[in-house]
Symmetry: C2
Subunit: 334 residues, 2 copies
C-alpha cells in the first residue's frame, strides 16, 4: 500500500512520513500530492499572523484545545517560521504547545522552517496543508511569525485570516497594523488584560474606518463595532473584520473568537467568497509552478558559458541588466 | 536635457522625479535606469534590518548625522516597509527623521511601501538604490521593518548588513535572531541602556559560536568577542560579525558602529568579497528580470480561455495543479 493510501486510511505514521517527503519536495512527495489532490478541499484553513510578542502560539494552542473539547474537530497546526533556517524557533514553539496537546491523536503539529527562498517556503506550506486536508483534518491552522510577505502568503492560503495584535508594542507595530488590515478577516487583540488595550482597540477601529470609507459601510460599521460579536451581512456582500479581545494564557475570549471564525466561514459560503478564495489559492499555486517550470526550461536552454559571459559584461558595466536579459532571452536556442 | 542627464549634473528635483518614475516601474524609469547603469557601482550599500521595536529608524538617523558631520559623505536613506501598502508607516518614519536631517541637501530620504508582491518591492528598492548610486551618494542605507524575507533581500542588495536587536523583546525575537545571524555582517544591540542588555549580548555570542563552530574560528572568536572593536582578519578570509552596543536616542556608540562598518568595507575589498557581492546582487536582479520576461511571454502565448478551462478542471479536482501546469506548458503554441 502506498503512503498516500495509508494516509487516507488514517495511518498517523504515514502522515508524518509523507509530510517530510512533501516538505523536502521529493519526487515521492510530489507524486503523493498528485494522488491526494482529489481528496482535498474540505478543511477550513485558518491563517494566524501578527508581530513577534503578540502571543500567537499560545492563542493557536488555545484555539486547538477549544476545538478539541467543544467541537470534536480534528486539528492540524502548521507553524511557519520564515526567519529561522535553524530549528530554534520552531522547536521552541512545539515544546510550549506539547504540554497541553500531546497525546491527543486528533491534533497534529508541524513546524516548518525556511529552506532557502520564501517562495519555496510558501509552496512547501501550501503542500503540507494539502496533505492535512486530504488526511481529513477539519481545521488546519497556519501560524506565521513575522511582519511582511509571509502574512500575505498566509492570507492567500487561508479561508480565514486572523491578525493578532497586543497592547503596547510600540510604534513600529502601529505601522505594521495599517498594512495588515488588508488581509485581516478577524482582528484579535491578545493580552487584553494588559495596559493600553483601549488604545490598541481605538487605533484598530480608526484604521478600520479608514479602510472602509463609504457611508454605507460606516452605517454597518457602527453596528459591528458596538457589538461584541458582529454578524456578517451576507446580503451586503461585505465583511467588516470584527475585533476580538483575548487573553490566551487564561483562555479568555477563545469561545467568542471561535464563534467569530465560524461566522466568517458561513459568510464566505453564503457570499461565494469561499469558492473565490479556493480559486485564488490554486491560481497562485499554478502560477508558482509555471514560473519554476519556465525557469528550469530556460536554464536547460541557455549554456552556462553564455550566461557567465553576459553576466561579466554587466559586472563591467558594459551592458545593463535589461540588455543582458534581452540578449539571453532572444539567444536561447543559439 | 533628459532627467538622467540632469540627475548626473546634480539636479535634486530631477532625482526626486526619477525616483518616482523608477519606483512606479514606468517606461521612462526603465530607460533612465539603462542610461544610469554605467554610472553605478560606487556607493557603499548598507542594509539595516531587525524586528519591530528595536529602534532601527532612530539608529539610521544617527548614522546619517554622523556621516554628515564627521565624514562629509552624501547619504541616501531608503526606508522599505513591506507591510504597509498604505503610507502610514513610511510617512511616520519620514517625519521622525526630518527633524534632524531636513534642510541638508546632501541627505535624501525615500520611503517605499509595498506595491503588490514582495518580489516587486525588492526589485523597486534595488532600482531606487541604483538611482542614488548613479547620483553620486557615497552611502545608501536601506532600512527594512519586519522579520522574514525582506531581510534576506536587503542582505542580497547590501555590501554590509546590520542586524539590530534590543534587550527584552521576548521569545519570538530570540527565534528570529537565529535565522538572522546568517545575513548579519554587524550585530547591533540598540537601546543598550535598558535592562537585559547583558543577556541579549550573551545570547548573541552563543549563537555566533554555534554559527562558527570550528576550532580555528573559536580562537579568533575569543579575540573578537573580547575586543570592543574587532579587527577583520583579511588573511583568514573570514569575518566574524562584531557586536556593537548603541543607544541611538543619545547617539551613544554611533562612532564605533561607523568605524566597524568602514572596517567591514575594507575587509570586503581586501578579501574579494565586495566584487562577489556585486556579482550576486546583479545575478539576482537578472534572474528576476528573466522570470518576469518568461512569464510575460508565457501569458502572451497561452490563450486566456485555455488557461481558464484548465483552471476549472483543477478547481473541480479533475486534475492536479501539476498536471495543469504540464498541459499548459506543453500546449503553449496550440
Amino acid at each position: 500500500m502506498s503512503l498516500s493510501q495509508a494516509l487516507l486510511n488514517g495511518d498517523r505514521l504515514a502522515l508524518a512520513r509523507l509530510l517530510t517527503k512533501v516538505e523536502n519536495d521529493s519526487t515521492e512527495g510530489r507524486e503523493a500530492l498528485i494522488e491526494l489532490f482529489p481528496h482535498t478541499g474540505r478543511a477550513h484553513l485558518i491563517g494566524v499572523t501578527g508581530a513577534p510578542g503578540t502571543g500567537k502560539s499560545s492563542l493557536v494552542n488555545q484555539m486547538a484545545l477549544y476545538y478539541r473539547k467543544n467541537e470534536d474537530k480534528r486539528i492540524a497546526i502548521v507553524a511557519v517560521d520564515p526567519s529561522s533556517p535553524f530549528t530554534g524557533g520552531a522547536v521552541l514553539g512545539d515544546r510550549v504547545r506539547m504540554r497541553d496537546l500531546s497525546g491527543d491523536i486528533n491534533v497534529f503539529i508541524r513546524s516548518m522552517a525556511s529552506r532557502g527562498s520564501l517562495g519555496g517556503l510558501a509552496q512547501a506550506t501550501a503542500n503540507v496543508v494539502q496533505v492535512f486536508d486530504a488526511a481529513g483534518f477539519d481545521v488546519v491552522i497556519v501560524e506565521t511569525v513575522g511582519a511582511g510577505q509571509s502574512e500575505v502568503d498566509v492570507a492567500r492560503l487561508a479561508h480565514t485570516t486572523l491578525v493578532v495584535e497586543a497592547p503596547g508594542l510600540g510604534d513600529d507595530i502601529q505601522a505594521i497594523k495599517a498594512g495588515i488590515l488588508e488581509i485581516a478577516d478577524i482582528l484579535v487583540i491578545n493580552k487584553a488584560d494588559r495596559p493600553g488595550v483601549e488604545n490598541a482597540e481605538k487605533a484598530l477601529k480608526s484604521m478600520l474606518e479608514l479602510a472602509h470609507p463609504t457611508a454605507r459601510v460606516f452605517k454597518h460599521h457602527g453596528t459591528y463595532m458596538s457589538a461584541s460579536l458582529p454578524e456578517p451581512d451576507a446580503n451586503s456582500n461585505m465583511w467588516i473584520p470584527p475585533i476580538q479581545k483575548t487573553v490566551s494564557t487564561e483562555g479568555q475570549g477563545i469561545a467568542e473568537l471561535i464563534r467569530s471564525i465560524a461566522r466568517h466561514a458561513e459568510y464566505l459560503r453564503l457570499s461565494g467568497g469561499w469558492a473565490l478564495r479556493e480559486r485564488t489559492r490554486l491560481e497562485v499555486e499554478i502560477e508558482a509552478l509555471i514560473r519554476e517550470g519556465l525557469m528550469n526550461r530556460f536554464r536547460e536552454e541557455v549554456p552556462a558559458e553564455r550566461y557567465e559571459e553576459i553576466l561579466d559584461q554587466v559586472l563591467t558595466r558594459n551592458i545593463s541588466p535589461w540588455e543582458a536579459v534581452r540578449q539571453l532571452m532572444n539567444g536561447r536556442s543559439q
